[in-house]
């Protein structure tokens, strides 16, 4: 089991450590619901150092990323971040990722922890002309999320972080540590993701928790990270999307840009677009009290029409909510469906997403 540079800090803080994608990670410190509310109301710090980072550079970097990812990398300015996908030629999703343009011909991509090896094989076997470097093992990553994140990070930074727009980044120092300060996150709140050298991660982590005391800062585990992202309908790789799901059925058509030219999976995805996906990922709200969970069948009039991919109690919406693939005929908002829970069908309804309003900094 792998450990992040902050492992000891988590244990000292009394975190409950669990296996996650080959890593030993904190699932909670004081309690998932309390941590969830801390992020919505104040500010929380997440250790997401388990995520992977690849750097790619050279004159071939841009064309290679254009071929490997679904979004239009050419539209990305230096200092800008883009959400994107790696797809198989058959259209299935290898991973979802963020692409950072560090310079005209230099990029960083951030990938899911459980997919680092798979993604590395994918990009280096389908690419090869550009220079790739796997920086996952030497990079620490701390997410600072919540309405007081800007004040907290701003207090410790040597640069004016208020000038960083959503999905933009800058280089600077935070708590004296060289940091790539990215205005991104996975919670639906304003906030930052701070990339540092692994050896500096604990210094940054400690400084954030000290400096944020007056803001009500707390360390946040993966449990709350999951409920926060679920309320925003952000996909979780391995739950909602995987090698067998295509971007259009997952509702990720907005990051697929066929107009940019050829890329892996383009033809397969365009075929799905022509006919329309057979199933769609929708938001469900239980209208009968019960907790929907990953793998539970979704039924309509006694027939299975889909499957729950993520489900939980949503602390901010105070409802039992889920993401589920359902037959496209039943995917409209308002559709009345059921979720089979321990052999009993409990009523559910397709609802608009996000379940909870986004408060990320726009513009």
């Amino acid at each position: 089991m792998k450990r992040t540079p902050l492992f000891s800090a988590h244990v000292r803080a009394g975190a409950r450590m669990v296996p996650f994608g080959g890593w030993e990670m904190p699932v909670q410190y004081r309690g998932i619901v309390e941590e969830h509310r801390t992020v919505r109301a104040a500010v929380g710090c997440f250790d997401v150092s388990h995520m992977g980072e690849f750097e790619v550079e050279g004159p071939a970097a841009l064309p290679e990323l254009q071929r490997l990812t679904t979004n239009d990398v050419a539209a990305l300015e230096i200092g800008q971040v883009q959400y994107s996908l790696l797809c198989h030629p058959q259209g299935g999703i290898v991973d979802d990722l963020t692409v950072y343009r560090l310079a005209a011909d230099r990029f960083m991509v951030t990938v899911n922890a459980g997919n680092i090896d798979k993604d590395w094989t994918h990009v280096t076997s389908h690419g090869g002309a550009a220079r790739w470097r796997n920086a996952s093992g030497t990079t620490g990553l701390v997410a600072v999320q919540g309405p007081r994140a800007e004040a907290l990070v701003g207090r410790l930074a040597d640069a004016d972080v208020t000038r960083i727009g959503y999905y933009r980044f800058m280089q600077g120092k935070v708590a004296g540590v060289r940091t790539l300060i990215s205005r991104t996150g996975y919670t639906g709140e304003d906030g930052f993701e701070l990339y540092v050298d692994a050896g500096d991660a604990e210094r940054l982590w400690t400084a954030l928790l000290e400096a944020g005391r007056g803001d009500g800062v707390a360390p946040i585990g993966l449990g709350a990270r999951d409920t926060l992202r679920l309320e925003m309908r952000y996909a979780l790789y391995g739950n909602d999307i995987d090698d067998t799901t295509n971007p259009l059925e997952a509702g990720l058509g907005w990051i697929v840009k066929p107009a940019k030219g050829e890329f892996l999976g383009r033809q397969a995805i365009e075929q799905v677009r022509a006919t329309g996906p057979a199933r769609k990922l929708v938001g469900l709200e239980m209208t009968e009290r019960s907790v929907p969970r990953h793998g539970y069948p979704v039924v309509k009039d006694g027939t299975t029409t889909g499957i729950v991919t993520s489900g939980s109690y949503g602390p901010s919406v105070d409802r039992y909510i889920a993401l589920a693939y359902v037959g496209s005929a039943h995917a409209a908002v308002g559709a009345e469906l059921g979720v089979e829970i321990r052999g009993q069908v409990k009523a559910a309804r397709v609802v608009k997403t996000p379940f909870h309003p986004s408060r990320v900094k726009k513009g």
Binding site: I32, V33, G223, S312
Partner: protein, 130 residues
């Protein structure tokens, strides 16, 4: 160490049982709710249901986990804690009090003696709870 009231009896699955006159009140222990984390859903049987000792009578769910509830004694459910439907977190806040789950009219008085004493239950959780 989790609170284990000396006047209650316990199951190996972390339910407590309390004699009240001829009836038995049932809930889950402080240790159990700590292990579960935030309880977000409790499913209990209807009044009149017959439960059997060591058999499941319901489900408690935290954000991350689903756990079966096991009856300490056999008998008829004469009352259920309906407040837990709207406020499942009561199980975390007051597991031995307002977080109770069932009141059972026992069918077999002999089963009481099969349950763990507080000392035996403390031993069980000291060994990791399994």
């Amino acid at each position: 160490m989790a609170n284990v009231p000396p006047d209650l009896k316990y199951t190996r699955e972390h339910e407590w049982a309390k004699r009240e006159g001829g009836r038995v009140r049932v809930g889950i222990t402080a240790f159990a709710q700590e292990q579960l984390g935030d309880v977000v859903f409790v499913e209990l049987p209807k009044v009149g249901t017959r439960v059997r000792a060591s058999q499941t009578f319901g489900v408690v769910e935290s954000v991350k986990a689903v756990s079966d509830l096991f009856a300490p004694v056999s008998g008829e459910v004469v009352e259920v804690n309906a407040n837990l439907t709207q406020k499942p977190e009561t199980v975390n806040q007051d597991p031995y009090g307002d977080g109770w789950m069932l009141l059972v009219q026992p069918a077999d008085a002999g089963e009481w003696d099969q349950l763990l004493t507080a000392a035996q239950y403390e031993q069980l959780i000291a060994e990791g709870g399994h």
